[in-house]
């Protein structure tokens, strides 16, 4: 197994600010927009964007929620392991709202497909956008593309992209990990 750094802490910080600005451009005061971080690892990105928008761009209030998609996945009973759930925490309705789904890595698109189903349990959104820090090109199983992307990466199938967050992993870094098959 070998790994190389795709994004350093400084690069991540610059990208987060750019993504925040792109969100602002489209949603301005976030009055009718909600940020939904996908469990387990999209929640850190959503929280960061929420913090940056509030502290540096003067957005007063953002509805921020965390969505777990475990019970909506399409691979139930297909792997060896029981799929373990995480906490969903959305204490508002998304009815007629602009929803921005936030996840760290976009790979096959299957998680996002599940999230599109899951979010309907909280109402009928006006529209749904997708924001990801890393977009793995050429690996999609479904016709799903991000509206906002941090960095596009070409990685082959036995490579893994791992996003580390300070609050959970002690550092802000994105690694490309090569598993020797």
């Amino acid at each position: 197994m070998s790994q190389k750094v795709l994004l350093s802490s400084k690069e991540i910080n610059i990208i987060l600010h750019r993504l925040a600005c792109q969100l602002l451009e489209n949603h301005l005061d976030f009055k009718n927009t909600v940020l939904i971080g996908l469990q387990p690892r999209g929640i850190y990105l959503a929280q960061r964007l929420n913090d940056i928008l509030k502290s540096e761009y003067g957005v007063k209030h953002i509805d921020l929620g965390f969505l777990d998609i475990t019970f909506y996945r399409d691979d139930f009973r297909r792997g060896d392991k029981t799929l373990e759930a995480n906490k969903t925490n959305i204490n508002f309705l998304v009815e007629d709202k602009n929803v921005v789904l936030v996840d760290d890595v976009l790979y096959t698109g299957r998680s996002i497909r599940s999230a599109l189903t899951a979010i309907q349990s909280f109402g009928r959104p006006l529209d749904i956008e997708l924001l990801t820090l890393i977009d793995r090109r050429f690996s999609r199983h479904l016709p799903i593309q991000p509206n906002y992307r941090g960095r596009q990466v070409d990685a082959i199938n036995n490579e893994k992209v791992k996003v580390m967050w300070k609050e959970n992993d002690g550092e802000d870094t994105v690694y490309l990990i090569k598993t020797t098959a």
């Binding site: 139930f76 906490k87 969903t88 349990s121």
Partner: protein
């Protein structure tokens, strides 16, 4: 640890402590799901579950059926009263006939202890025991512990007294196994005629004075007097039982501390507990019912994920 150590839920006796924790953690997520405006998830859409009830049940059957439907499973119901069982069909034949319609899981209630265990050895499906005679009622014990955990934060170290007919109660036996497994202290309280002779071998103490038992406990689980199972007289009259082992508001308020009151239902109001106790803020009886759906969703989800 992310999966159950068993392929069937036959009794608490066959579970490990970490199984119970996994079920509780999964139930936490389902509890959030059933409090949404859309209370359904698509996880089990390719699973078919048969609810096979050889004995009367209202709330357990409803609770299981609701749990199955909330998980998007296909559900068929079977009650012995209207079936070929009356014509002399054996249990294995009955269930195999149901299974040949491509059923993946069987939830069964049966008057004979061990019916679920027997079935699990002879048919190819995941079995959930929804009560087998006076043996076990595992999902009831799980939801009882889950409700204690929700109310008091933890089950370990808590003092729980089970009051009533311990002899005929599958709820009592499953609860004793579950509570001991999680490190709670358990006493049973009731007329001596309704307490099994060797109950202490399960690590529980017997207390025949209700007031003492209630002063000791954090939680009192009041069992129903099951008149349908009392083949002979175990106590002189219901009135005398109520006087000695019934809980009323006056008794509750005279205790040293505020205890939690539970009841697996259906309540004989005025026998085990009076109405003002059942409806008081110390009672978590309706929470138990709500938690029952979440617990059964968790059990079914976790067992279904092991069906290959």
């Amino acid at each position: 640890m992310s999966e159950l150590s068993v392929n069937h839920l036959l009794g608490i006796k066959y579970l490990k402590e970490k199984d119970i924790q996994l079920i509780f953690e999964t139930a936490d997520h389902f509890k959030e799901v059933i409090n949404r405006s859309i209370k359904k998830v698509p996880s089990l859409r390719d699973i078919t579950i048969a609810n096979v009830f050889f004995e009367n049940s209202t709330r357990t059957k409803l609770s299981f059926e609701l749990a199955e439907k909330r998980l998007s499973a296909d559900v068929i119901n079977f009650s012995a009263g209207q079936s070929s069982v009356k014509k002399g069909e054996t249990l294995v034949d009955t269930v195999n006939n149901i299974l040949s319609m491509k059923v993946d899981m069987v939830v069964m209630r049966h008057p004979n202890p061990g019916a679920g265990i027997f079935l699990s050895k002879h048919v190819k499906a995941a079995i959930v025991n929804a009560g087998d005679g006076a043996h076990e009622h595992p999902t009831q014990a799980l939801l009882d512990s889950y409700s204690i955990r929700e109310k008091l934060g933890d089950v370990a170290g808590k003092n729980v007294v089970i009051v009533g007919d311990i002899l005929h109660s599958r709820v009592a036996l499953s609860n004793i196994f579950a509570l001991k497994l999680q490190g709670a202290n358990v006493k049973v309280c009731g007329p001596k005629t309704l307490i099994p002779k060797y109950i202490e071998s399960l690590g529980v103490e017997v207390e025949t004075d209700l007031r003492k038992a209630l002063n000791w406990c954090d939680v009192a689980n009041m069992l129903r007097i099951q008149n349908e199972r009392l083949d002979i007289s175990y106590f002189p009259t219901t009135r005398e039982y109520t006087q000695q082992f019934g809980v009323n508001k006056k008794l509750l308020e005279s205790l040293d501390k505020e205890i939690v009151i539970m009841h697996p239902g259906p309540i004989n109001r005025g026998v085990e507990i009076t109405s003002d106790v059942a409806d008081s803020k110390q009672s978590i009886i309706l929470n138990q019912v709500e938690n029952g759906v979440a617990i059964r969703m968790a059990v079914i989800y976790l067992l279904a994920s092991k069906i290959k």
